[in-house]
């Protein structure tokens, strides 16, 4: 194993970079949400409170870790960490600075692979709640499953649209194929994708799995200390991952005008900027909607989102076929 690979995995654009990005995303999210709601948000920790997520994380690490007597201990103990590592691992497949974290790991079909990783990670979130055996946790966990399984289908269909346009199932190919970002080329699919992402990330109006007023903390209810820290971090990483997927599929990935010097740092910069942009959109949506009810969400998925995503996919295919015909006509 070369030193460069170790550096890539552990520092940039690997583990350290992703963790930092996660914490910064968390801060941006909180700050922007606060501003939208006419509040301050994090203020005192570091400049404009930028260290707040880090402070919260370390604080939780120092707290007492309680494992309930009746919980299913193995699942309860390991589910948060496994969920976190799977989410982080999935980000490894994103071309962050023009290449993947493991330089040559990009392969045809890694889109499908990453989406299945997300599914597995969410299943571990479910397990964490189920293993708590607290009624609130169990309800929260089943809600994760209900919501996630439902929304995974439209998500997948909508992820296929850019794949058709780029004629590939690989993130790096799709990202590099976007001379014009697909968000502009097929805006309807992008809008639907963001809506589905909102449901996937459990944000308003879809934050049913941890609707505090109904089921307290949802699947997190029984967690404390470092396991809670990892559970929270897993959620934040999931947000980064979701945003990253949206960036790769619809916003042209890390590619953008090279501003100065080597292309790689500027690619990474573009990637961060775009991820933050997606986070901003989701935060905006969170702010303008009230939470729906679980039955409304399920109905909304099967009756509205799923048919719409199929229509959108067909439209996209039509666009692809049409442009190919046009291309042939021009030739």
């Amino acid at each position: 194993m070369s030193l460069e690979l170790v550096f890539r995995v552990l520092v940039f654009p690997g583990f350290t970079f992703i963790s930092l990005l996660t914490l910064i995303c968390d801060w941006v999210e909180r700050k922007i949400e606060a501003r939208m709601q006419n509040r301050m948000g994090p203020t005192y920790t570091g400049k404009a409170g930028i260290l707040q997520p880090f402070a919260d994380f370390t604080k939780l690490l120092a707290k007492e870790d309680i494992v309930p007597r009746d919980s299913k201990k193995i699942f309860f103990k390991f589910a948060p960490i496994i969920a976190f590592s799977i989410f982080t691992f999935a980000i490894f497949f994103m071309p962050i600075d023009g290449a993947n974290v493991l330089t040559n790991s990009s392969f045809e079909g890694d889109l499908v692979f990453v989406l299945s990783l997300v599914l597995i990670a969410n299943f571990f979130l479910f397990l964490s709640g189920w293993a708590s055996t607290n009624p609130y946790s169990v309800i929260g966990a089943t809600r994760v499953l209900t919501q996630f399984l439902g929304y995974d289908i439209p998500l997948f269909i909508l992820a296929l649209a850019p794949a058709f346009l780029a004629n590939s199932l690989s993130f790096s190919t799709i990202a590099s194929a976007q001379n014009i970002p697909f968000a502009i080329l097929i805006p309807w699919a992008f809008i639907l994708f963001i809506a589905t992402l909102q449901a996937e990330l459990e944000k308003d109006p879809f934050d049913i799995p941890h609707a505090e007023t109904e089921i307290v903390g949802g699947y997190e209810t029984e967690y404390s200390g470092r396991r809670l820290a990892f559970l929270k971090l897993a959620k934040d990483t999931q947000i980064v991952l979701g945003a990253a997927i949206a960036v790769e599929l619809y916003l042209g990935g890390p590619y953008g005008p090279v501003l100065f010097g080597l292309p790689e740092p500027s690619y990474a910069l573009w990637f961060i900027v775009k991820v933050l942009f997606v986070v901003l959109i989701t935060e905006y949506l969170t702010c303008v909607f009230a939470r729906l009810r679980i039955d409304q969400v399920v109905v909304g998925n099967w009756k509205v989102l799923l048919p719409l995503s199929i229509v959108s996919l067909m439209l996209t295919i039509a666009v692809v076929v049409f442009s190919q015909l046009m291309g042939q006509g021009m030739m």
């Binding site: 709601q37 308003d204 039955d295």
Partner: protein, 528 residues
């Protein structure tokens, strides 16, 4: 006594004949009819037939030594008529009126807890206010119970109350409270659920009962103003106003016109800030945090006005027996108007939001429906009743303070769902702003308080105030000392909370917090 009351009294005399023992009036000309044990039911039935909108306002128990007098305060044509029975203390028994008016349920259980009166035939004669491990034969509001002894007895008890979390049959029992993020105050509802649908609800209150009614008997009238004010932090001015009005009526004290207007201003400020608090709270219950933050941000100008006027943001301590405690400064009036204008400009935005936002409508429209018929049957009060199309508002029915002179509209909605109840409050905010503006412009000059004696002559009086949550009821009996003989407080939530059972049964679990909050429950009021 008005002509209408004469007429009703005549009808009652025909119906009951010699079963009427005595007809009296309270100090403020309220009819008080004492009947024989058992005849009260016929009398109440007669009164309920008299007016379709009639209901039980409160049931008061008073320990008179050898007998316990039970007073049924019935709301007829917007006024209160009291039917009184006296039962012997040794064998305190009477018949329930729950079968003719189900809204009497909680009122009877409260009297039964605190005075040890058995209501025969009551559908659910469990404890409501006292803990389940409370000693069997101690009834705290009886005069022979010494507070010091009571504390000693309670300290020595060992067992702790335990709710069994197992439902009979197939349904799962979810215990909602006493500690729950949706409930700010400790109250418990055990819900039996089948899947996501609620089948049965059993409310339990009294977790923070402070025995304020007992405590008032050991304090002077002056000290009691501050005590009753602390029954509820949010509607503190209403409690003070109602207490002071009742005492003034027993004394026969007329307060100056300026004091009446100043009272109206503080009462309306109270209503506005309470309604805004509730609306913001409803926002969090349906997961609409931004709405919550905006609502509470716009509530701040009102709190600033209260602070300017009284010297404190929340607990006004503004109203006193004989008027108000401080005068309004002329220089303050333009500042107050400025602050009110800030809120006034924001209101169309909120109204538009409530009428058009899809997610708010999805969560509140057709959710938690309380029909007009049920609302009357369960004797709900205030915005809950008005949201179900019942025209009921003490400010109109029996104007107090300066409400008789100030023009305003009564807001009613006919939908009866959570949305309607929230809309009633939103519209009342703008009515309230108009009332304050009118009061500030037409503020009479003159003194703002008159001296009141410390000793109150013997007598009794009933008074009501429209608190933000509905009709607030006070009954005070004095005994020619500086200490009251009995102070009965019936808070609006106590009347409203029973209707939650009807609203919740058959609804979705996810709707429970939203429909509960649309009732605007204030449990610290309920647990006096």
């Amino acid at each position: 006594m008005s002509e209408k009351e004469q007429e009703i009294l005549q009808k009652l005399r025909e119906e009951l004949g010699d079963r009427i023992i005595q007809v009296q009036t309270t100090r403020n000309e309220k009819l008080l009819i004492q009947v024989k044990i058992g005849a009260h039911k016929d009398a109440i039935r007669k009164l309920l037939n008299e007016d379709r909108n009639a209901g039980v306002s409160a049931i008061t128990g008073v320990d008179l030594g050898d007998v316990i007098s039970i007073m049924y305060h019935i709301r007829v044509h917007g006024d209160v008529i009291t039917i009184k029975v006296e039962v012997p203390k040794e064998n305190a028994k009477t018949t329930t009126i729950c079968d003719i008016i189900p809204g009497a349920d909680f009122h009877e259980r409260e009297v039964s807890d605190l005075f040890g009166v058995t209501f025969e035939g009551h559908p659910n004669p469990k404890r409501l206010i006292l803990p389940d491990d409370w000693p069997q034969n101690i009834f705290p509001l009886r005069k022979d119970v010494e507070t010091a002894n009571l504390i000693r007895t309670l300290d020595s008890r060992k067992s702790l109350y335990n709710e069994k979390n197992v439902a009979e049959g197939e349904n799962v029992k979810i215990v909602f409270g006493p500690q729950h993020p949706a409930l700010i105050e400790p109250e418990m509802f055990s819900l039996e659920v089948d899947g996501e649908i609620v089948k049965r609800v059993e409310p339990r209150i009294g977790y923070v009962h402070r025995g304020i009614e007992k405590a008032t008997e050991q304090r002077t009238y002056l000290q009691n103003i501050y005590l009753v004010e602390r029954i509820c932090g949010i509607c503190n001015a209403c409690h003070a106003a109602c207490f002071c009005q009742t005492v003034e009526e027993i004394m026969g004290l007329n307060i100056p016109a300026r004091a009446k207007y100043l009272r109206t201003i503080i009462l309306e400020l109270n209503r506005i800030h309470s309604h805004m608090l509730l609306l913001g709270h409803a926002g969090t219950e349906i997961g609409y945090e931004t709405f919550f933050h905006y609502m509470w941000r716009d509530r701040e100008p009102i709190m600033d006005v209260v602070e300017m006027l009284t010297g404190n943001r929340v607990l006004a301590s503004f109203i006193t027996i004989g008027g108000v405690r401080r005068d309004i400064d002329e220089k303050m009036i333009p500042k107050i108007k400025e602050k009110l204008a800030i809120l006034k400009n924001k209101l169309p935005f909120y109204k538009n939001l409530f009428e058009n936002d899809p997610t708010i409508k999805m969560r509140t429209k057709n959710v938690g429906i309380l029909s007009r018929k049920d609302a009357l049957k369960l004797c709900v009060v205030g915005p809950v009743a008005r949201g179900s199309g019942v025209k009921m508002d003490v400010r109109k029915d029996e104007p107090y303070a300066a409400y008789g002179e100030i023009p305003f509209n009564m807001v009613t909605y006919d939908d009866g769902d959570s949305w309607a109840r929230l809309m009633v409050r939103l519209d009342e905010i703008s009515e309230g702003l108009d009332i304050i503006e009118y009061a500030l412009e037409n503020l009479p000059s003159g003194p703002y308080r008159v001296r009141a004696p410390r000793v109150v002559p013997a007598g009794e009086a009933i008074d009501r105030v429209e608190a933000p949550r509905g009709e607030l009821f006070y009954y005070i009996k004095s005994n020619n000392t500086a200490y009251p003989e009995r102070v009965k407080v019936r808070t609006p939530t106590f009347s409203n909370i029973r209707s939650f059972v009807n609203i919740a049964e058959g609804s979705n679990i996810a709707d429970i917090p939203a429909s509960l909050v649309s009732l605007d429950p204030c449990f610290s009021c309920t647990d006096r």
